[in-house]
């Protein structure tokens, strides 16, 4: 009788690459959508009065403080139970994007608030309209100061995307989980997966630090 388990082999590389690809896709989707929504919410927050800000910040606090894994399970279970079962990719993208948005909105709020009002007055005095001032002055000046924190959020989203595995999305972690049950070689596989996350995150975070240092000068 042959073994139940088959060792890891080159035949598995297609599976692993698909897992890597899916991790990258859902991370990019979440970062792009989360950045766009975060930019809008961050702008609204920087322009709003106390009441609006209180309401918005409570909603965002929920997204930020309920563990992502619970949000994923709750969301996919509930929409499923209401009769709209979603693909794991779709459900995962929605929740991961909203989660990203919650953190990005803080990043962009401080970006907008970092531009002193006298700079905006100077712009308006040249005849630029409110929106021209937002797009040509406030946004580009503000964004420069927050690039390192934007990158920090983006990197943590790549890592957090592993949690989407709990609702069945075949990203890298879930792929390796399946390989582990088949091969019983957890050490090699998890080391490989860890190395992948490290190789993506570390150079980017070094770059972020480099930009930060350059800005401090």
């Amino acid at each position: 009788m042959g073994s139940l388990f088959t060792p890891l082999s080159w035949n598995d590389s297609g599976l692993i690459l698909a897992g890597i690809w899916n991790t990258i896709v859902i991370s990019v989707v979440a970062i792009v959508i989360g950045t766009i929504l975060g930019l809008i919410i961050g702008f609204i927050r920087s322009e709003s009065n106390k009441t609006v800000n209180l309401i918005l910040s409570s909603l965002l606090d929920i997204l930020r403080s309920v563990p992502l894994i619970i949000q994923l399970i709750l969301f996919s279970t509930f929409v499923g139970a209401w009769g709209y079962p979603l693909e794991p990719f779709v459900a995962g993208s929605i929740i991961l994007s909203l989660y990203t948005m919650a953190f990005m909105s803080e990043v962009f709020r401080s970006a907008f608030e970092s531009v002193h009002s006298s700079m905006l007055t100077a712009s308006r005095s040249l005849g630029l309209s409110y929106w021209q001032t937002v797009f040509y002055i406030r946004l580009p000046i503000g964004i420069r100061t927050v690039f390192p924190s934007w990158l920090g959020v983006a990197l943590s989203v790549i890592k957090d995307s592993a949690l989407v595995s709990v609702i069945g999305y075949m990203e890298l972690l879930r792929t390796s989980d399946q390989l582990i049950s088949r091969t019983q070689q957890p050490l090699e596989i998890l080391l490989g997966v860890g190395l992948f996350y490290f190789l993506i995150s570390y150079p980017l975070s070094l770059y972020g630090k480099h930009v930060e240092r350059k800005m401090a000068l």
Partner: protein
């Protein structure tokens, strides 16, 4: 012509302008002097529609500044303004700082905007700084950049709000020289300033502000050499000492 009739302005309960009347004709230079908090900046902001007024009327070339029907973005193209803080746009080069508003407000072509930018920068003595980022320049240079940036919109009037007050003393001269050039060009200007000697030299009229009213107004000879009011005399002896 800028015409200011009985303008009142309050921030909450604090009445900052208590009935201001002024007239500045084309080609004239008016300097406004007075103590801190007397409402000088606020008046400039009201002329530029950055601040609303509570009563009275301000017209610029017969356009009612605070009328609801007035396009204030358009009106501000007539009025260049330079502030105590120069507020250079740090993400743009010196030339881009000056060319930005002509390009996006006046919708000029890139070449036209650059041509105007180069001309105005040369005019204020920054002809060798086109591609520099403004944060690399001194305060005096950045303040001259702010003047060129305003001039590039080809305003009919210039409003200056204590533009030398935040400068190191050795940099004041180059900025005042730039104002002298504008004076020679025949630019109509309102200068809020603490540089009394300069005001006396370039102004057609001087207004002394005190607690939201114009305490005394007239030619430099009248207001500076022969002030009639005790508040004016006190103020002058304080700043001239």
């Amino acid at each position: 012509m800028i015409n200011i009739q009985n303008v009142h302005k309050s921030f909450g309960d604090l009445e900052v302008l208590k009935g201001i009347n002024l007239e500045v004709k084309k080609g004239e230079v008016l300097s406004i002097i007075g103590g801190s908090g007397s409402g000088k900046s606020t008046l400039l902001y009201c002329i530029n529609a950055i601040e609303k007024i509570n009563a009275g009327k301000i017209t610029v070339d017969d356009i009612d500044v605070h009328d609801k029907a007035t396009n204030q973005d358009k009106l501000r193209q007539k009025l260049g303004m330079v502030f105590q803080q120069w507020n250079s746009f740090p993400h743009l080069t010196v030339l881009e700082n000056v060319a930005l508003a002509p390009r996006i407000v006046k919708k000029m072509s890139k070449d036209e905007a650059i041509e105007i930018g180069e001309k105005e920068l040369t005019h204020v003595g920054l002809g060798d700084k086109f591609d520099v980022y403004p944060t690399k320049m001194s305060g005096g240079q950045q303040q001259r950049l702010a003047i060129a940036r305003a001039l590039a919109m080809r305003p009919d009037y210039m409003l200056f709000d204590e533009i030398t007050s935040a400068l190191d003393p050795e940099l004041v001269g180059e900025v005042l020289d730039t104002l002298r050039v504008l004076r020679e060009d025949g630019m109509t200007m309102i200068c809020v300033t603490h540089e009394i000697a300069f005001a006396r030299e370039v102004s057609d009229n001087i207004a002394f502000f005190h607690e939201g009213i114009i305490e005394e107004m007239g030619s430099p000879d009248q207001v500076i050499s022969n002030p009639q009011k005790e508040t004016t005399q006190k103020f002058l002896s304080k700043v001239l000492s």
